[in-house]
């Protein structure tokens, strides 16, 4: 255990004066706080409100920018989809399909009349579901 040093002071006249002065200073500080508090408190609240508001605004702007960025991306995707749809339409042409069938020598032929039948029936997921909608038509090949 380390040694502990104590210093003792005797309360002489000078000490009392210093203490009184210190006490006077404390009283003065407290009275200053009491005077300024009514001003500072609303200012502090105002400051807080402003900070919160700025933060909120900044977050809002950040979100807005992100939304704008996302909208731009969606727009670009839309354009790409539109482009792909056009390509799809080009490739879905009968002439193009026939060319590919010939190119790859696929054993396909056109269906004969009567080979396709329109059957009316409920889909398995709709059977017994108690739906009031009319059943969808299914096209079933006889091949």
């Amino acid at each position: 255990m380390s040694a502990m040093n104590f210093r003792t002071y005797t309360m002489d006249g000078a000490g009392r004066k210093r203490r009184a002065k210190r006490n006077r200073g404390t009283v003065a500080h407290w009275s200053l706080v009491r005077v300024l508090l009514p001003f500072f408190f609303p200012l502090a609240i105002l400051f807080t409100v402003v900070v919160v508001r700025v933060k909120f605004q900044s977050d809002h702007e950040k979100l807005h920018r992100a939304a704008a960025h996302m909208q731009l991306k969606i727009h670009e995707c839309d354009r790409e989809i539109q482009n792909l749809n056009n390509k799809l339409e080009h490739f879905s042409r009968r002439q193009f399909i026939n060319q590919q069938v010939a190119r790859f020598n696929l054993p396909l032929r056109n269906p004969q009349p009567g080979q396709m039948r329109n059957l009316t029936g409920a889909r398995p997921d709709e059977a017994g579901a108690g739906t009031t909608q009319p059943p969808r038509k299914l096209i079933i090949s006889r091949r």
Binding site: H60, Q82, N86, E89, R93, V101, N110, G114
Partner: protein
């Protein structure tokens, strides 16, 4: 310092501050109140952006929603000559674009280096319009890599015809003049006002990066896309019709050829093809002669395809029956100072045989018995001399004179399709009346318009049809005669389809020479028919203009009809009426 000195200094400082505040207040008032409007406008101009919204031109679909005309996203490459840099830098940019887009480097440089026009600074110069999306994205990356300044990619769309030559004359095309779309022909022109988009714009306050401020003011007027148009055309039928037209052209090398397929009950045009044709996507190779819609604007003498109408009139007025016999003079008959000939010499023929063998003399004699006024009225009831109502421009009425203007020969020549001219569409429409039991339907090419925003479709209503037959049994009698044309002994056995009854009529007409008279070497070879005869799914007209090797409608046009009709019946899932041995053919040749 004395107490008075301190007070004086404080007063001085206070006074200075007061005056300072007073000046600031005055300045504040001047800025905020006095120059409010001016400064507010300045700030607004700086932080307000305007985005123009063009809207998209309406799309064109077939009846099943297959896209026939679309808009393809692309980019315009724009330069701001104020910031593209020095001439050296402009030359570098020009060389890059010349290489990448196959442009003239001199021309690109000229556009980049033109910084002033009529004393005004140039800030918008188009380097290339309508660069494809994929290529534009690559160019965007390369511009960034190479650090070119003042080059922007402006989003736009261009008209795209994904089916290339298919239905080209009907759809037509548009030209682009700056931002303006100029329709040139076809549906693009006929319904331009409905297809056109209404431009709009959005004014918004933006930050320094150009992003709109969430709390900023915004004023937007929406752009409206043009209406989508749905045609009555069926893409699959159109495709097979055009493929068979190509086969006809390969075999007989005609100057032109066209084919039309119509639903006789609704008047819906299912397919409409013409050769020569053009690809609206390749403007550089387009032949203006191929733009013309011959099926609507060109007229021709229909030849023997007119005969059924004269016979229908005579049957309607009870002048003849299918069994009535006429002397066909062994192929040569002198009437009104001119000789009328048949292709083959026939003796006595019944009315049914007159149609089956296509006797000119027999038909002329029947018409003479009918009389010119009743013949004229019969032809009028079948729609000759009037427009079909197709919403395309430059439709011809044909040439069909009033009885007062007929000469002595007219009554023997008009019923065999000479001296009378019609458009292919008029003839096909008249056959619709023969096919459907006597209703002269109004032809429909546009089925509906669709609002792209709401998806609501407005259907173009069917117009009521006029009656063509005066007697109820005329249709059945005529149907029997026309069915015999494609059977053994008829002129169009090559139009017969195994398992189905096919009704129709061949036509071979000499072309009129510009100097007058008829050509002995130039012909129109036609066949118009419908199948199945008793409940037709379609009427098809096939015509070859100046075919080589052969000029008979039964040889040139009838086989094309047969191939189109056979495939169409298969496609429409119409089973044969008679049992035939199934013939399995591969889909490719």
């Amino acid at each position: 310092m004395s107490k008075d000195g301190i007070i004086a200094r404080m007063l001085l400082a206070g006074g200075v501050l007061f005056v300072g505040f007073l000046l600031l207040g005055a300045r504040y008032y001047h800025v905020q109140v006095g120059r409010h409007d001016e400064l507010y406008e300045k700030a607004r101009a700086k932080y307000t952006a305007t985005a123009k919204r063009k809207g998209e031109r309406g799309l064109i679909y077939d009846v099943n929603g297959n896209l026939l005309v679309g808009n393809i996203p692309c980019s315009n490459i724009i330069a701001d000559p104020q910031i593209t840099g020095s001439d050296e830098q402009c030359r570098e940019i020009a060389a890059y674009f010349a290489r990448r887009l196959d442009l003239s480097p001199t021309e690109v440089f000229r556009r980049l280096a033109t910084r002033e026009r009529n004393g005004n600074p140039v800030r918008y110069s188009v380097i290339e319009r309508g660069v494809d999306l994929d290529l534009a994205e690559k160019i965007r990356g390369e511009i960034r890599e190479q650090g070119f300044k003042g080059i922007f990619l402006e989003e736009t769309t261009k008209r795209y015809y994904p089916k290339n030559e298919m239905l080209a004359q009907v759809i037509g095309f548009i030209n682009v003049d700056g931002d303006k779309e100029v329709p040139v022909t076809g549906i693009e022109k006929a319904v331009h006002s409905r297809l056109s988009a209404q431009p709009g714009q959005r004014r918004y306050e933006r930050d320094r990066r150009g992003v709109s401020l969430s709390y900023g003011r915004e004023k937007a007027s929406d752009s409206d896309n043009g209406f989508n148009v749905y045609l009555t055309i069926n893409e699959q039928l159109q495709d097979l019709l055009e493929a068979e037209l190509d086969t006809l052209c390969k075999e007989y090398s005609p100057k032109a050829a066209y084919a039309i397929m119509i639903d006789p009950y609704t008047g819906n045009i299912l397919a409409l093809g013409q050769r020569p044709t053009f690809n609206p996507n390749s403007r550089g190779k387009m032949d203006p002669d191929a733009w013309r819609n011959r099926m609507l604007g060109d007229i021709f003498e229909p030849g023997s395809t007119m005969k059924p109408f004269a016979i229908a009139g005579a049957l309607d007025h009870g002048i003849i029956s299918p069994q009535t016999v006429f002397d066909c003079e062994n192929g040569r008959w002198f009437f009104a100072g001119k000789t009328l000939r048949d292709a083959h010499g026939y003796g006595r023929l019944s009315v049914t045989e007159i149609i089956q063998k296509s006797s000119n003399i027999g038909t002329a004699k029947i018409s003479i018995q009918l009389g010119k006024n009743r013949l004229y009225q019969t032809f009028r009831r079948f729609g000759f001399g009037e427009k079909t109502g197709i919403p395309l421009e430059l439709e011809s009425r044909g040439i069909f004179r009033k009885p007062e203007q007929w000469d002595s020969l007219s009554i023997s020549r008009f019923p065999i399709g000479q001296g009378i001219a019609c458009t292919p569409l008029q003839l096909a429409r008249a056959y619709c009346a023969l096919a459907n039991g006597g209703q002269l339907v109004h032809l429909r090419l546009i089925d509906s318009f669709e609002d792209p925003e709401t998806g609501i479709k407005v259907k173009i209503p069917h117009q009521s049809a006029a009656k063509t037959f005066l007697r109820a049994d005329t249709h059945a009698k005529l149907l029997d005669m026309l069915t015999r044309v494609t059977q053994t002994g008829g002129t169009a056995t090559r139009a017969a389809i195994a398992g189905y009854d096919v009704a129709g009529k061949t036509g071979t007409s000499q072309k009129i020479l510009p100097a007058g008279g008829y050509s002995n070497s130039e012909y129109f070879a036609s066949f118009v028919g419908f199948a199945p005869a008793d409940n037709p799914a379609f009427v098809i007209l096939v015509t070859a203009d100046e075919p080589q090797k052969n000029h008979y409608g039964g040889v040139v046009a009838a086989p094309t009809f047969q191939r189109i009709a056979q495939q169409a019946l298969n496609y429409l899932n119409i089973a044969p009426r008679h049992l035939v041995a199934a013939e399995v053919k591969p889909v490719h040749p």
